[in-house]
Symmetry: C2
Subunit: 510 residues, 2 copies
């Protein structure tokens, strides 16, 4: 059953309120809350990432960290605080971030003598910015560490929290504090630095598709969307279930802008002094937002098995003989957990909590565990186990012979990863139009509020800033200039009708 382009669980009260069709943004918030992934709490715009959400993040982190290390980068850690004079040095950079910086001005609290309230005391001689990104501080360390061409390339990655003050925060998508990795590299030549920028974008594309099951379109950002201080910014763009784009990773070639500002020079083989060419690249907890908006449904989260903290959850149905049922559940967990699926041991968990079995089953469905097994005394007698597959829209209970579990469950888990990717790729393909050929069709495509209206448009673009007016009016932007250009000779800009320079990817975006 399909409604408004969004598949619905048939004949069943939806678990998440509102549904996607009713109110997509609110549905997203509800899924993130009800699946216990994360919540905005305590401080405006700041997030608590709950154990289930953090478990997802740990699996993402492990896979991404492996890929980054395989690219040759080493992890390191740099200060949270950045002196004001550091950040002021690269003009475009400070311009881009000044409006969203948290500033530390004091280093002590004291009781106010009159009111008795705690107030900031001991003012700093120079305010410190809480890092919004670390080019300026890591670049200065690079300048110290790099002397000769032999020290290049220098490839560093950092896992850290960063702060960008958000006036309109949204959980996972736009939060004042978020977790991320930021890679920073320095190279002897422009060619080598540009190649690294491209290489890391490819690492991100591969990660998004094979780990998160989120297909993406890689390309270059238009000038107006470049990272502050970059010469060229690349991105991967994913499509959410409402047809909007989400930037899922960026990789920047910074030229010599930062190396000149920081005196990052090296002595070449011929003795000459040169400024290094640098790059930076990052992905963040925002990717968990992409995961939710790509795969979740009206019953809650659906997790691709590679990022599911538990791939199989066993719910024991215990009344009279709890010990026997628990023993049988543990036996299944041990047997099935010995299998290897998607390059790792299958992750199985027995839910022993003191709660009603039905409540547990729905909790794991809401949390997106790929397979939920129920096991009671009658099942044991009958030699069967009841299996719910999270990718079945009806969430039907299927009886599987106990003897077949060890061969069948790994297959089901493995195929679910591929199925989620295929479904998302099908959506990306079917909702990307290449047939929008003039501004009227462009306006029509991006008007309408139904979650199933709109999507991506790939069309010729003149790259003239004058086209911003129409885009701004519709809330649309150029997401990227896709690498796989298909621009016909003499093609005209879809907005202005003027000769087109590139084929662009247009969309509304998060």
């Amino acid at each position: 059953m399909v409604k408004n382009g969004l598949p619905m669980a048939s004949g069943k009260k939806a678990g998440i309120s509102p549904t996607r069709a009713e109110d997509f943004p609110q549905w997203f918030q509800s899924v993130v809350r009800d699946a216990e992934v994360a919540e905005l709490d305590h401080v405006r715009g700041c997030m608590v990432i709950r154990p289930w959400g953090y478990g997802i993040w740990e699996l993402m982190q492990r896979a991404m960290d492996d890929a980054i290390k395989a690219s040759g980068a080493d992890n390191a850690y740099f200060p949270l605080f950045i002196p004001l004079n550091y950040i002021a040095e690269e003009a475009a950079h400070v311009e881009g971030f000044a409006k969203e910086m948290a500033v530390v001005t004091h280093h002590r609290l004291e009781k106010d003598a009159d009111s008795g309230d705690l107030v900031p005391a001991a003012e700093l001689s120079e305010p410190l910015v809480v890092r919004p990104t670390s080019e300026t501080i890591i670049g200065r360390s690079f300048a110290k560490w790099i002397n000769s061409y032999r020290d290049l390339p220098l490839l560093i990655n950092q896992w850290a929290n960063v702060v960008r003050w958000e006036l309109r925060p949204r959980v996972l998508l736009r939060t004042t504090e978020f977790l991320w990795q930021e890679g920073h590299t320095a190279h002897a030549t422009e060619d080598e630095a540009r190649a690294k920028t491209l290489e890391m974008l490819e690492v991100y594309r591969e990660f998004a598709e094979s780990v998160l099951a989120v297909p993406v379109i890689p390309g270059e950002k238009p000038e107006s969307e470049r990272f502050p201080g970059a010469v060229s910014s690349l991105s991967i763009e994913a499509m959410m279930q409402d047809g909007k784009a989400l930037q899922a990773g960026t990789s920047h070639y910074l030229g010599q802008n930062f190396s000149r500002a920081m005196g990052m020079q090296y002595t070449a083989e011929d003795g000459g002094q040169h400024h290094a060419h640098t790059t930076s690249w990052g992905t963040s907890t925002r990717l968990m937002g992409a995961l939710v908006m790509t795969h979740a449904d009206d019953n809650g989260l659906r997790l691709p098995p590679r990022v599911a903290p538990h791939q199989v959850v066993i719910v024991p149905i215990t009344r009279d003989e709890p010990a026997a049922v628990l023993e049988a559940a543990d036996g299944i967990a041990a047997e099935v957990g010995a299998a290897s699926v998607l390059d790792a041991p299958l992750r199985v968990s027995v839910d022993r909590r003191e709660r009603k079995p039905a409540e547990k089953r729905w909790e794991w469905i809401r949390k997106g565990a790929p397979l939920v097994l129920e096991l009671g005394e009658r099942d044991i007698e009958g030699g069967v186990v009841t299996v719910t597959r999270r990718n079945d829209l009806d969430l039907a209970r299927e009886q599987v012979p106990r003897s077949e579990l060890a061969s069948k469950l790994p297959q089901l888990v493995e195929s679910m990863q591929a199925e989620y990717l295929a479904a998302a790729a099908e959506r990306l393909g079917s909702r990307t139009s290449r047939d929008v050929s003039n501004v009227d069709e462009f306006r029509e495509f991006f008007s309408g509020d139904d979650p199933d209206s709109g999507g991506f448009v790939r069309a010729p673009w003149c790259a003239d800033p004058a086209t911003d007016a129409v885009m701004g009016e519709l809330g649309v932007s150029v997401r990227c200039i896709p690498f796989d250009q298909a621009l016909a000779d003499g093609a005209e800009c879809v907005i202005s009708g003027a000769p087109a320079k590139v084929e662009a990817l247009f969309a509304k975006a998060y």
Copy 2:
């Protein structure tokens, strides 16, 4: 050769200046810098953890994380910023931390119209504290998540950066920003919470000894040294090579102090409402300081193999036929890397950098890699490899037949872990005195500036605050009341001569 109790590399210019005997504190700073572990840079008191240091930290983190998860705790993440009113609520807690808190007061930078300088703008209605620890914020989340006794125990751990403003910073030991894990748990009963406090201290003891090869003395902190807001604080105390103590991990029973302040209540089986009993426990990058001060020598760092990012480094000596030598080096790396040592595949690295072989060998010795292999054309012809063992004081080069590497290297690595622990345990034992019986002997023991004077004293103590004067004068404190008490009937306090209440561990401390 032993000088001042510190073994010296014989007949060889020491790599680190000054040596331990010359100036222990300065030696420590030099080792941390020269081994490229970390450096204070950019912001007063803040640390850059360099790739080699971060590699050590990652291995520590992985082992600790496994142990914490095995204890039943899940990882999660909570906001970096804490509202002022949160931190003000637990009186002893705010008292303890007020003097060292970094305070965020603004969320934007603007150009000053007159000077053109960037200045903080957009003042926050309530200042935010950068977390010095997270009891107040995690406790409030617990209060929301806990309803019934069925929700208990709640066991959470967080890996995060924290900030405590340091007026006299020292790299790794006392830094304004540091990395740590902080565990927070809530329980239905005092007994259960106290048992968890003890259980996690035991996790720390086991980690320090088996992973870091740092033997420790577990015990309870005296009242004056308790965590602000705690009912009871436990710690493990390690002895550095200069005889001083370093607190290597703490675990606190917080009673109902925080749960009352935050309204963390649960409904019991009988329907009654109760406040939970909470604990918190933490270890930090400070442990890397303990690692250095326990194992390093006058040639630099010495890493117990479990935390050595490379356990075996192969330095190819290439002149005429680099390809053949590199091929042979890769062959050794592949063969030796297939072995499993200390529960993990042996970590082998071939150093292909364009640098002189002697320079590389000394770099890896300074960085503490357990085994350094050198391999040139003549070695290949002779069927041998030159091995330097980092635990050999003379750093002698030993010729090992190529055919024996696969069996011999894993043994050497494995035994080095045990040897480092045994050496540290021997020091802890021999420099802990149980024979100091009155205040004159106490003064004598703790006077004198030689690195080999002093150590730990275990002696009867009356626990009277009046004993603080003598201790303060000597720069000594009670590190803990060891769990394995050996207090004779009628024993007299080593300082006051009054009847003793406990056997205490006295030491100077970091």
